[in-house]
């Protein structure tokens, strides 16, 4: 990833380059630097594209790279979209409305908006505008081919505690999954590292950009913890629930607890030193503890993987004890703990809608109905595919299935737009169509959650993207072959 290194190292030390707002500034701030490095980027991008995808893959993948590169390195256009039905999600639908995009953001939305100067016109007669969908449970960009190409897998690092590992350093912006996913209307994804107890930090990315820096909405968005459990997977059959296994699990939880408390102490020591460097001894740098500080202070959320009732209860208890801001991912049995989740206001990323029921005797629709039950109980949740990347585009149909089994349709739509934004604390920027928010939009000829619907236009960061992906290009290449 040679092309990425110069910018990364400069910015990483102070981590300032990734704060909110800098992204917008970077394009205007150092434009000279940008155009030079953009050319470099483009060449490297092309070379990389060829190298990665030459055999047996066609070299056409580089075409989507070219699109991304062109788009993100040009000034942000202004658009006016007319005659559309606008599903704002946060408010009432607008039957025949206008939406204006300026500088990457929704400048105005309503029935009567005047056109700004130099706006590109888009006639959306008969079409509907939705917010771009958000999937909070993927490994987008961290893994290309799960079987048979281990070089493309960057999901799981070795070691039990990796809080300072950040997915954003590993995301491949040129993964074929990116374009394939966005042309289906999913504009934003949370990419999580996995494995171990503390897997690392997840990155919230828009599916547009030639570098993770460009893509990242929140580069270190959440800490990912796979809460210690007994069993739950692996070859050779699950172990038994022996006293030893329980003790071992408790020990791992204790280690986790200790690390988080140590991080608290570290943060305190660092603050004390910063305030008064003369009289306070300088604390030794510990990258792991340093990474944990914002999370143990409740400033950023911690995502816990928990599926079964027992695990969910243990996680909620643990998070409360350590004063963390928990989010549960998985939640297969969340409906059984709905009261607790509501009481403690713990939101759930449901990535289990299409899984098979946990037990032979579970109702056939027990996982389809999960979302509806959570909604009825007032628990905050969103829906995710839980897929590593290739099938994140299936997100709307996961929501649709929940709607088929009791979740009101408007809620189903929210569960892939506004709710994930709220849960991750970015609802001020995305998740619905409101003035001021980032223009991540998908324009369809029908219900967004329906498979028969066609996507007609796509906007990410206020830029219109051609509906081109590896798949459309292969389609074009072969569909008329005699």
């Amino acid at each position: 990833m040679t092309m990425l290194r110069p910018k990364f190292f400069l910015n990483r030390r102070g981590r300032r380059g990734f704060r909110r707002g800098t992204q917008r500034q970077s394009s205007s701030e150092s434009s000279a630097q940008n155009s030079a490095s953009s050319a470099v980027n483009r060449i490297f991008g092309l070379l990389l594209g060829v190298a990665l995808f030459s055999l047996p893959l066609t070299a056409r993948a580089q075409d989507t790279d070219r699109i991304d590169a062109q788009i993100t390195n040009t000034p942000s256009p202004t658009y006016i979209i007319r005659n559309a039905r606008i599903v704002t999600v946060s408010g009432a639908d607008i039957d025949n409305g206008i939406l204006v995009i300026i500088n990457g953001h929704i400048a105005g939305v309503g029935a009567n908006i005047s056109a700004p100067a130099g706006a590109q016109e888009i006639d959306a007669r008969g079409l509907t505008i939705y917010p771009g969908m958000i999937d909070l449970g993927s490994n987008m960009g961290l893994i290309e081919v799960p079987t048979g190409a281990p070089g493309t897998i960057d999901v799981q690092e070795l070691g039990e505690m990796n809080p300072n590992i950040a997915a954003v350093w590993s995301i491949n912006p040129h993964s074929a999954h990116i374009a394939v996913t966005r042309v289906a209307g999913v504009t934003t994804a949370l990419s999580l590292p996995s494995g171990a107890v503390i897997s690392g930090q997840a990155a919230l990315i828009n599916l547009l950009g030639t570098s993770p820096r460009e893509m990242a909405v929140v580069p270190e968005a959440a800490l990912v913890i796979d809460f210690p459990r007994i069993g739950g997977g692996g070859f050779g059959g699950p172990p038994s629930i022996t006293p030893e296994a329980m003790t071992q699990r408790e020990r791992r939880v204790d280690e986790l607890r200790k690390m988080l408390r140590d991080a608290e102490a570290y943060g305190r020591a660092q603050d004390a030193y910063r305030k008064d460097p003369k009289s306070t001894p300088r604390p030794v740098t510990d990258l792991k503890l340093a990474a944990l500080v914002p999370y143990v202070r409740g400033e950023r959320p911690v995502i816990f993987r928990a599926e079964r009732e027992r695990e969910i209860r243990a996680v909620v208890r643990f998070a409360e004890e350590l004063k963390l801001k928990p989010i549960i991912i998985g939640g297969s049995e969340a409906w059984k703990t709905a009261t607790l989740l509501k009481e403690k206001d713990v939101p759930v990323i449901l990535d289990s809608v299409l899984n098979l029921p946990l037990h032979e005797d579970d109702a056939y629709d027990s996982l389809y109905e999960n979302a509806a039950k959570l909604h009825a109980a007032g628990v905050r949740f969103c829906i995710s595919t839980g897929d590593s990347g290739a099938h994140v585009r299936d997100l709307p149909f996961n929501a649709g299935m929940a709607a088929a089994f009791g979740l009101p349709r408007t809620e189903a739509l929210k569960s892939v737009t506004l709710y994930p934004a709220q849960i991750l604390g970015v609802a001020d920027r995305m998740g619905s169509i409101e003035a001021g928010k980032i223009a991540n939009l998908v324009i369809t000829d029908g219900d967004l959650l329906e498979p028969r619907t066609n996507i007609k236009f796509l906007f990410i960061n206020g830029r219109q993207l051609p509906l081109v992906s590896r798949h459309t290009m292969l389609n074009d290449q072969f569909k008329d072959r005699k």
Binding site: E144, V145, P146, T147, R409, P451, H471, L474, N475
Partner: protein
């Protein structure tokens, strides 16, 4: 104790009674539905009369006998039952006999498990029939079984009488065991695609010799020759002879365009037609050749990228092949996906612009044709088997769910009955758990097993090995 015995006796009797009930031959009438016939368009406000397991009549305001069960389907949709042309449901033990690269003597019909809960869940998703295949461990795998999902019936009732028998072939990464290096286990030939072709060629060469030996023997017997020792009957080669004689369908798992061409060319050389190419995710690259050879295709809707040979897969595959004249279907290769093949079919409207009728065909008439059972199922026509699904909304809509599923006119899934039964099952569980034989041992006792892995969506089942935890 006595109460417990009575309750459990009653439950047992109910189960037994359920299996023997006259439900099978009951006359039913589904009234006032939108009927998607697949063969002759969509009929609104239409009734479907089911009698003796067959579709007896289709029309408006049909007359029904007084004792017929009436299903009011106003506002609802009726379609033929979905047929899954690539399934490994309801199989005991391993789906693969991996120890040899030619295992045509293995038969899926020997290991049917009619009590697998996967069957019921698929009925709840509208699937009524399936092609049960051997896994993709071997270049030439075992014999397949074409079944109807007759939940509650013994195994013998599942195979469809008269369905043309089939055999599974596999090409590409799986039969050459690229992705399965088990330390301590000897690697098995073939290890390359070259070897895969060689394995198939060799097997058919042996089959030809076998056929000739038997033909010679029979000729000798006919000539009244004495002292002839018959050749050895070889259960591995006999199905291959059947393939050569056109009596057994070849369903071949394949991915890459080059191996697709290889098999069709080989088949042409040997004098048979490949019946279905399964997965065939690069079929779109050689759609004309497939059409010319006369093979049919059964693929995923949009599942892709999980291994290298699936990296060029595109969701337009089925549409491109369809437009080139290849009879195509969409399959599941997964207990999980088999519950929602209607949605998989619906995706084909978006990807490649198939019409809704064409899309619905991908999971009804087309797989029926591929399995050679289109005279019995696949459409709603008078005289066909009553394999019929009642949906709450259009089957191609994501918001639909199945209300009832009929197979051979028997109501095998009823959502309302399923919901009503849940409390009863909970009560039964409490009673059973209190029974003596279900109590934990007073002292000692082995530690209970930890929970097994979650069965996630977005997987495929071809590579299930011996011993993998397949508990539902």
């Amino acid at each position: 104790m006595k109460t417990l015995m009575i309750i459990v006796c009653l439950i047992f009797l109910a189960n037994v009674a359920g299996a023997q009930s006259p439900d099978r031959t009951k006359t039913r009438i589904i009234r006032n539905a939108t009927v998607l016939t697949v063969s002759h368009g969509t009929l609104v406000n239409t009734d479907v009369l089911i009698r003796n397991g067959k579709i007896a009549a289709v029309g408006q305001n049909l007359k029904a006998p007084d004792d017929a069960q009436v299903i009011d389907a106003t506002g609802k949709f009726v379609s033929p039952g979905i047929i899954d042309a690539h399934s490994h449901t309801m199989m005991d033990g391993s789906v693969n006999e991996c120890t040899k690269s030619v295992t045509s003597m293995a038969r899926t019909q020997d290991i049917l498990n009619p009590t697998a809960i996967g069957i019921y869940r698929e009925l709840a998703g509208g699937t009524t029939a399936a092609l049960l295949l051997h896994g993709s461990c071997n270049a030439i795998g075992g014999l397949s079984t074409t079944v109807k999902l007759k939940w509650g019936h013994p195994a013998a009732d599942f195979p469809i009488p008269g369905a043309t028998p089939g055999i599974k072939f596999a090409l590409g990464e799986n039969p050459k065991r690229t992705n399965f290096n088990i330390p301590g286990l000897q690697p098995r030939y073939p290890a390359t695609r070259m070897g895969v072709e060689e394995t198939i060629r060799d097997a058919f060469a042996r089959a030809r010799d076998y056929k000739r030996d038997w033909d010679d023997y029979r000729a000798g017997v006919a000539r009244d020759e004495k002292n002839l020792i018959p050749p050895r009957r070889d259960l591995e080669l006999e199905p291959l002879v059947e393939v050569l004689e056109g009596k057994r369908f070849v369903h071949s798992h394949c991915y890459r365009a080059d191996e697709i061409l290889m098999l069709m060319n080989l088949a042409d050389e040997l004098g048979f037609k490949v019946r279905t190419l399964q997965h065939v995710l690069e079929g779109y690259k050689v759609a004309s050749e497939i059409a010319r050879h006369g093979a049919m295709a059964s693929a995923f809707a949009d599942f892709w990228g999980y291994k290298m040979e699936a990296y060029d897969a595109i969701p337009y595959d089925v549409a491109i092949m369809t437009r080139h004249g290849v009879v195509s279907s969409v399959n599941s290769d997964s207990d999980e996906r088999a519950r929602r093949l209607n949605i998989e079919a619906a995706k084909m409207v978006r990807y490649g612009g198939l019409t809704e009728d064409e899309a619905l065909k991908l999971v009804t008439l087309n797989p029926a044709m591929q399995l050679g059972i289109e005279n019995r199922v696949g459409t709603i026509d008078v005289g066909k088997d009553a394999d019929v699904v009642v949906w709450s909304a259009h089957p191609l809509s994501v918001y639909t769910h199945v209300e009832q599923t009929f197979v051979d006119g028997e109501l095998l899934f009823d959502r309302q009955a399923d919901i009503a039964r849940r409390a009863q099952l909970e009560a039964e569980r409490k009673t059973l758990e209190a029974a003596e034989s279900n109590k934990s041992p007073a002292q000692g006792g082995t530690p209970p097993r930890a929970p097994s892995a979650i069965r996630r969506a977005y997987t495929h089942d071809d590579d299930i090995q011996d011993g993998e935890d397949r508990r539902p």
